[in-house]
């Protein structure tokens, strides 16, 4: 029995060591992906918040949608291989026409309203999808992070033998190491299904490129898009002879007549203005995890069939289900909100994981002040940088270089922390972020030309979160140097 206990103890030690190794390897990149992912869950609400002036409507008639499609393509005056109509949804009650040459909002009559320029929201999304790297490498990186997150989850469970005994201990006002340990372990355990699903679906989305690449080489002479066809439907055969614009209005009218129970969210016209053009109508299915079903129509708006995401082979349905599961869009606003909170909690888990490792190093007599300061700069500097690039976008316009500025700010924060580790204290960083969030909430509300309920909630939440952070920083200041850690022991024996 003693042997059994010893073996179990050794397993826990090794699992903890492996857990720490994974955490250290990926923590900063994973933190950025999770922070931007928490925001990406709100993408529709953020787009509406970023561009408050665009025309809004609960729905649009098929005739107006057709007019919008034709007028925007004609206005751009250049050929395009695809044209998309985003139809109003609960999160984004706007119609957007997107082609290879740009995107534009239209009003309820289908007339041009304004160019779509939600560059800050796109920046956040691309930070999450690709870490702002080129698409292939970015997806590979985020897919790898997904696998490592799942690996950290498995080793975390193995390293946690008192998982049930401590299930509800949350001593946030205890000693710093204890409070962080409680936060890390409790959130890690109770959000286990969320973290596992998020990591695994993220890994599938990221590593999928490699799998499709292999299949394309094997069966389709390297034609990448052809390997998608068995799952998402094939592209139409090209026939480039000119033709009048595809009749999306007829397709929408057909959907309203034959599939009234499903809400149409997106219309895609492949090769618009050519004889080979085809219409794909995406309709969401309630109480299903699939992102929707694609209904196919020819250029005249005649129904051809559907792809089978809802009732096709189980593999097709399974793959179509990972998107909603990953982004939390399967249950309306309550699930979106829950995913946002879980996402922030996951950021706290990642943050406290590395902080605990640094604290343990310090308590063993091997402090790493530069590393500690740099980790603090990543944790508090990255949300601050996201806030700052929002203001850059507001004042400099849609052409502002958000990506280099974001990474420049983050690198600068890390550099400052490395050069002067004692200077940017956590309290100051928290206070700065709090001020930034508060100013963003108040400033946006004051400057915005329209105040839909979701945007007001975002503004109020930002102001509230900012106030809480500033108050916390002030409280810590009052407690003075009590929190400062001074050596209290003689060197520990190695």
């Amino acid at each position: 029995m003693a042997d059994g206990i010893k073996r179990a103890g050794a397993l826990v030690r090794r699992a903890l060591s492996g857990h720490a190794a994974i955490g250290l390897l990926i923590s900063a990149a994973l933190y950025l992906v999770c922070l931007s992912g928490a925001l990406a869950v709100l993408q529709e609400y953020l787009q509406r918040w970023e561009e408050p002036a665009a025309a809004e409507m609960p729905s649009i008639s098929p005739i107006a949608a057709q007019h919008a499609l034709e007028s925007i393509v004609a206005r751009q005056g250049k050929p395009t291989t695809h044209a998309f109509i985003h139809l109003p949804t609960d999160g984004l009650p706007r119609v957007v026409i997107t082609t290879d040459n740009g995107a534009a909002y239209v009003d309820a009559s289908g007339n041009y309203d304004a160019p779509e320029a939600h560059v800050w929201t796109e920046f956040v999304l691309f930070l999450h999808y690709y870490l702002n790297l080129p698409q292939f490498w970015g997806l590979l990186a985020t897919g790898t992070l997904g696998v490592m997150l799942c690996g950290a989850t498995v080793t975390g469970v193995l390293a946690h033998p008192r998982i049930f005994r401590d299930a509800f201990r949350m001593r946030l006002r205890g000693r710093p190491q204890l409070s962080r340990s409680d936060l890390h372990n409790r959130f890690g355990v109770w959000l286990l299904p969320f973290v596992a699903v998020l990591g695994f679906t993220g890994a599938i989305l990221g590593l999928g490129e490699l799998v499709f690449l292999g299949i394309a080489q094997e069966r389709y002479q390297g034609e990448f898009e052809a390997s998608y066809a068995p799952l998402f439907g094939a592209e139409p055969k090209a026939d480039t002879r000119p033709a009048p614009m595809a009749r999306a209005d007829r397709a929408l009218a057909w959907m309203a007549e034959h599939q009234p129970q499903h809400r149409v969210t997106y219309v895609t016209v492949e090769d618009p203005g050519t004889t080979g053009q085809r219409i794909e109508v995406l309709a969401s299915h309630d109480r299903r995890l699939i992102y929707g079903e694609t209904y196919l129509f020819d250029g005249q708006g005649q129904y051809l069939g559907h792809v089978g995401l809802s009732d096709g082979p189980s593999g097709r349905q399974a793959i179509a289900s990972i998107y909603k599961l990953h982004f939390g869009t399967f249950g309306g606003a309550p699930v979106v909100l829950a995913y946002f909170v879980f996402g922030l909690a996951l950021c706290a888990v990642i943050s406290t994981g590395t902080t605990l490792w640094l604290m343990k190093r310090r308590s063993r007599g091997y402090p790493s002040p530069r590393l500690e300061a740099m980790w603090g700069a990543v944790i508090w500097g990255s949300p601050m940088a996201i806030v700052l690039v929002y203001w850059l976008r507001t004042f400099a316009g849609a052409q502002a270089p958000l990506v280099p500025v974001f990474w420049g700010i983050l690198m600068l924060c890390c550099l400052l922390a490395a050069v002067r580790p004692g200077e940017p204290t956590l309290r100051r960083q928290r206070a700065a972020l709090g001020c930034g969030l508060f100013a963003t909430g108040v400033g946006h509300f004051a400057l915005a030309s329209a105040h839909p309920a979701s945007s007001v909630v975002i503004d109020a939440s930002l102001a509230l979160a900012g106030t809480v952070l500033v108050l916390l920083a002030l409280e810590r200041r009052k407690s003075g140097k009590a929190g400062e850690r001074k050596p209290s022991l003689t060197p520990l024996p190695k």
Partner: protein
């Protein structure tokens, strides 16, 4: 599934963590009730609404658990006498151990590079074999998409509790050999 039944099942899911908290460490009946409530709700949701139901139920449980944790954080009193975390006097820095650095590099190479290659290879060969055996392309492609990260995860999780590099290398080597056998035979 009716709205009422769905609401009831979701409420059962949400009640689980609160019942667990109520019986935590003291009362066995509420703990048993909690697990029964969550299990029966999961079965009801799965049978009535499929994967969507299970996802919704799990989200409700996690949201409820987050509230329980928030309640615990707010109500746990601060310790009367805070003892500081043990902080040792800084020890002289340990010189860089090159063998250890090489070992860490080796772990990275095996867990990240070799594992990815091996899991991708095995997933690709398995889907190819099944496709040639007549399984629909949608299912074989989906299988490969799921299998690749799953194999990598399994290998990495196992490697993280290994102590020697040679033991770590066994998992990707096994996957590479298995994938090659499948590739050569089908």
């Amino acid at each position: 599934m009716t709205v009422l039944a769905l609401t009831g099942a979701l409420l059962l899911c949400a009640s689980g963590p609160w019942l667990l908290r109520y019986g935590w460490q003291y009362r066995r009946p509420p703990v048993i009730m909690a697990w029964v409530a969550m299990a029966s709700a999961a079965i009801t949701l799965m049978s009535g609404e499929g994967a969507w139901g299970l996802a919704a139920g799990t989200t409700a449980t996690m949201a409820s658990a987050s509230l329980v944790l928030a309640h615990a954080a707010l109500t746990t009193p601060p310790p009367g006498c805070t003892t500081r975390d043990r902080v040792a006097l800084p020890l002289p820095p340990v010189p860089v151990s090159w063998p250890d650095a090489c070992r860490r590099l080796g772990v990275f190479g095996i867990v990240v590079v070799l594992d990815l290659a091996a899991s991708l290879w095995l997933a690709w060969t398995v889907q190819r074999a099944l496709f040639r055996a007549g399984i629909s392309e949608a299912n074989t492609t989906a299988l490969a998409l799921f299998l690749c990260p799953l194999l990598w995860l399994a290998a990495a999780s196992w490697q993280m509790i290994c102590t020697r590099l040679a033991a770590m290398a066994m998992a990707p080597l096994a996957a590479l050999i298995l994938g090659s056998i499948v590739w050569l035979t089908v």
